[in-house]
């Protein structure tokens, strides 16, 4: 496996691995690892680093919803044009064009259901190309960004075994 592929895998597993540990795990020199990560960042392969937060464990309430969007296109307007407008809203966390019964799959976030509902009815639904929205509020999250939430499994192996 190439160094860049291995680094991408490791950083997706834990973006806080130190350069030294990444070098140890990949049998590379720390300078090499640092240069490779800089290259991946400058070429836009790595777009950022974020914490995986379980909001159930925080005081502050967060509301998230998946919104199915149907749109209508014309000669002057492409999917990309519509997407360019929608992604401007900070409330929108994810936006994807998908196959199937609807066109866009959008994830939005707000502090309350009222806020999220207003955002959809006031900002998204009125966009001329949007013909339909179907909103699904998240009720519980079990796994996100590859990480299983909850208490985790206890290691029930014998502490010492041959």
């Amino acid at each position: 496996m190439d160094l860049h592929e291995e680094l991408l895998e490791l950083l997706q597993e834990n973006a806080r691995y130190s350069i030294d540990d990444l070098a140890r795990m990949t049998d590379a020199e720390p300078d090499e690892v640092e240069a490779e990560i800089e290259r991946l960042e400058s070429e836009g392969v790595i777009r950022g680093y974020q914490a995986v937060v379980d909001f159930e464990e925080t005081e502050r309430e967060r509301v998230r919803a998946i919104v199915e969007l149907n749109v209508t296109l014309d000669r002057e307007t492409s999917y990309g044009d519509i997407a360019d407008r929608i992604v401007q809203f900070p409330e929108v966390r994810e936006l994807r064009l998908v196959s199937g019964d609807y066109d866009f799959d959008m994830e939005v976030q707000g502090d309350s259901m009222r806020e999220v509902s207003h955002f959809i009815s006031d900002k998204i639904a009125p966009i001329p190309e949007i013909t339909q929205t179907v909103t699904h509020y998240h009720m519980d999250t079990y796994k996100t960004q590859g990480i299983v939430l909850g208490d985790g499994d206890d290691d029930d192996r014998l502490s010492i075994s041959p």
């Binding site: 496996m1 490791l10 597993e13 834990n14 540990d21 070098a23 140890r24 795990m25 990949t26 049998d27 290691d155 192996r157 014998l158 502490s159 010492i160 075994s161 041959p162």
Partner: protein, 381 residues
């Protein structure tokens, strides 16, 4: 009256690991690098196959030798991976863990007084297995000078040219050593020249990081004198399902099956269904686990080097076998446990040549592994 253990049992001391286990169990919040099994669970597909088999009521015995479908898959897999060609009807025996296979083989081929050379340091069961079978164990020490690889010099020095059988384990527990085909060739020649039966425990064959595994049974003239042991515990993280297999010439497998049919009848049926699925669909999961182990291995070896702990470049299984910073490895391991709550296993638990070393298992998640290494560093500085 009291029931007196037999003399056979009395001659075998309890496992050296046991005392350490008890010490560790008394302590809270330890990080253990003393575990001899994967930290992963069996691949979901294999677990689901086991569940489905239970739902379908597949809870009876199987054929003594194991389900034919499984034996066919085992034979095909051994051929594909290691060029080991065995007939599923005559030359494959499904056992309750590779451990049962080894025990059967020792009992099936060793006569009272036969000498069995055992390469050491080694897994804790070989020497007791030889004694229980009525044989005389002959330790063949390997050392850090040869990166714990077996050499003909070591065999001659131990007097193994007079032995009847040789127990080998590469990739090795506890050292993490591996042997290439060309390194095995002189060993094969030695076995042919001195007419030794070779019992080759290859349970870690899928976990090599520098070169692919070669089975000694594939070398010229070795097939007829070798029994190979493998299983699902390590590669597929299925230790608790207790499923292994032996591959060998028909007469050896028949002799082993003679004991197996009376003492075990058949290997666990549920586990056999899991194993079928493991062979059919879990290559990717094995590859993914191997990659994780390899990263940890590199991390552990680098950290030891930086700490000034001597450690030969272990290239298989999920163990490193560094030199103990103190000459007395038991004292060191005990002090490390008490002071830093990190468990490692002193090399003395694994027989001759183990003293002065520690078995460090990296079958532990990356964050615990890093924390344990930090604590070791704190402890020795």
């Amino acid at each position: 009256m009291t029931i007196e253990p037999s003399q056979r049992v009395e001659t075998v001391p309890p496992s050296g690991i046991r005392r350490f286990f008890e010490l560790a169990e008394e302590m809270d919040e330890i990080i253990s690098l003393g575990v001899g099994e994967p930290d992963f669970s069996a691949p979901w597909a294999a677990r689901e196959a086991a569940i489905t088999s239970l739902e379908l009521g597949k809870t009876s015995y199987t054929a003594n030798r194991g389900r034919r479908e499984l034996r066919e898959l085992i034979a095909a897999d051994a051929d594909r991976r290691y060029d080991l060609t065995y007939d599923p009807d005559e030359e494959v025996l499904v056992t309750t863990g590779a451990s049962e296979g080894l025990d059967l083989a020792l009992r099936a081929v060793i006569d009272p007084g036969d000498t069995v050379a055992v390469v050491q340091p080694s897994y804790v069961s070989y020497v007791p297995g030889v004694i229980f079978a009525g044989g005389e164990p002959l330790p063949v020490p390997t050392t850090t000078e040869t990166d714990f690889k077996l050499t003909t010099e070591a065999l001659y020095e131990a007097g193994a040219d007079e032995a009847d059988a040789l127990v080998l384990c590469y990739p090795n527990n506890p050292t993490g050593a591996t042997m290439t085909g060309s390194e095995l060739e002189p060993i094969a020649e030695f076995a042919r020249e001195h007419d030794l039966v070779v019992l080759s425990d290859e349970i870690y064959s899928e976990l090599t990081y520098e070169h692919d595994h070669t089975s000694i049974a594939t070398l010229p003239g070795m097939r007829e004198r070798t029994i190979v042991f493998n299983g699902f515990s390590k590669a597929y993280a299925m230790t608790g399902l207790r499923l292994g297999y032996a591959l060998g010439p028909p007469e050896a497998i028949a002799a082993m099956n003679r004991i197996h049919q009376y003492t075990m009848l058949s290997a666990p049926t549920t586990a056999q269904y899991a194993a079928i699925e493991a062979l059919e669909s879990c290559d990717d999961a094995v590859g993914e686990m191997r990659r994780q182990y390899d990263r940890r291995r590199r991390l552990v070896l680098s950290r030891f080097e930086e700490m000034g702990i001597e450690c030969f470049p272990a290239s298989g299984a999920f163990y490193a076998f560094p030199e103990s910073p103190w000459d007395d490895s038991e004292a060191f391991a005990e002090a490390l446990l008490e002071d830093q709550h990190v468990a490692v296993v002193p090399g003395t638990a694994f027989g001759e040549g183990g003293e002065g070393h520690l078995r460090v298992s990296y079958a532990t998640g990356m964050s615990d592994l890093k924390e344990a290494l930090d604590r070791i560093e704190t402890f020795i500085s």
